[in-house]
Assembly symmetry: C2
Homo-oligomer: 328 residues x 2
Amino acid sequence: MNVSRSNGRVIALCGGVGGAKLAYGLQYILGSDLTLIVNTGDDFEHLGLKISPDIDTVLYTLSGLANRELGWGRQDESWNFMETLAGLGGETWFRLGDRDLALHAERTRRLRTGETLSSITSSFAAHFGIAAQVLPMSDDPISTVVASSEGVLPFQRYFVERRCAPQVESIHFERAASARASSEVLSALGDPDLQAIIVCPSNPFLSIDPILSVPGIGSAIRAASVPMVAVSPIIGGKAVKGPTDKIMDELGVPRTSKAIAEHYGALIDGLVVDVSDADECEIAGCAVRLAASLMKTDDDRIRLAGETLEFARQLASSPQRAAQRQKL
Amino acid sequence: MNVSRSNGRVIALCGGVGGAKLAYGLQYILGSDLTLIVNTGDDFEHLGLKISPDIDTVLYTLSGLANRELGWGRQDESWNFMETLAGLGGETWFRLGDRDLALHAERTRRLRTGETLSSITSSFAAHFGIAAQVLPMSDDPISTVVASSEGVLPFQRYFVERRCAPQVESIHFERAASARASSEVLSALGDPDLQAIIVCPSNPFLSIDPILSVPGIGSAIRAASVPMVAVSPIIGGKAVKGPTDKIMDELGVPRTSKAIAEHYGALIDGLVVDVSDADECEIAGCAVRLAASLMKTDDDRIRLAGETLEFARQLASSPQRAAQRQKL
């Protein structure tokens, strides 16, 4: 694997599963030079526990603890809690493994003492031996809700309980307007050594937009005069996992990487598009890099991360791109 | 086993382990004619979960799910939650098994919807196939606190975290004065078919006194003109389990069954004393029944329950006792 350690910081915006896979590759290359800003719009309280699904997926994936068979949760998991809860007639639509529960219980306890989610997440990352900096997008609660054919649903009810079956009409980030970006997030985005910002191949509507909805994050991204590169989550007209393609249909957006580029608009300088979508290698106003973007193995993750970083470096040295960013 | 099903209701006041063993025997004999009024002074919130240790011990013991090796918690338990929590640097002084956790999580969820602890406990008992009626002493929160050589400690900090090491100076039941007995408890105590009230061999100071501290329960007991019989938790100057004897020393009370009778005073009509304490078979103002009161097996539990019920029946038919109760 021909990867070299970068100098300076790289930031990646990241949701859950798909995004965490690229984050794994980025961490392999960048180590502690990587800062992840993770979606917390999916966070919710369940059974009295504060659950941060995307942060947990990132922590488990970066530490090698993720359950690759399930595609969520921890490896070596047991389900005695859930089995007993089912026997008591309890709510079992959101499955919590016995080991996974510990993370939620400890997070809940520490949040109640007044500690910030940023601080708790950083402590968990250290316990898991994670080199990258893992930051929640905000320490203030923001809740993604889905206006759907079945009414307005809290995100987890839509995503897990109803398995994304309701037709999406619009997506809202409750309390985003009054939320603040954490000082850690603003400090990372303002780092003079920042080299690039990567948008992981997460769901743009459900995982990346919440991050961009936090006041201050969008403007800090624009103020950082570094290339911003997204990796398209669409391969051959489909999402690898999750409801991205279904939501694009429901929102009347074509299932294409071009539509992803248009969604991010002037914010991004480049888009990594899967080699199978070579017909989309020309997108107005956005540089395109073709790459094999399906990540089945750790090698896939590292290779795609390497190509994405290389693409960002090329864009950084392109006079045309630099001039274009100045106009934003 | 020569046991006959009683007619009419029997109430037992009960704390955790020792009390639950006699409750098991009583349920074997009485089935659904048994009502347990259980201490909730030990209840507390931990890791965001509402925990009712004595109710849970009673539920596990009556359903045959209790962990006999540990003396607390469930059988067939796994500890993956706790192991992971320890790895995160979390609080591990109160051990929660993976299956046990389900009870706390479901109780917490239902309490938050506004359901009463009585209703939730009744539902859990039904799920566990328990014939007896299991009632918390109150649906209002009451917290046992221990004034000790290490300051005022919440009960679980004293009992579990500090393993009863601090010297007890006094014991208080916070918020008891403003608590109400539940309608279920008052209805049971006012049942015209009530035959007897049994005080299980729980710690009088930490498990029975909290029940008696609930406004209305003491007067309802006095108003019920049925024999009240306690089973002494002291055998040969020692408590079978727990800190009863140590606390008696610290409170300046002799470690005797006679002192237990004096503690309950005029409230009880009779005391079951272990055969090894035959020298205590004369206690002024209190009938004594000698019985083998160590409960190692299910047969021990059922036999002691049968002898206790028979003693209560004898007292009910004693003109002297009946006259004495009228004077209360």
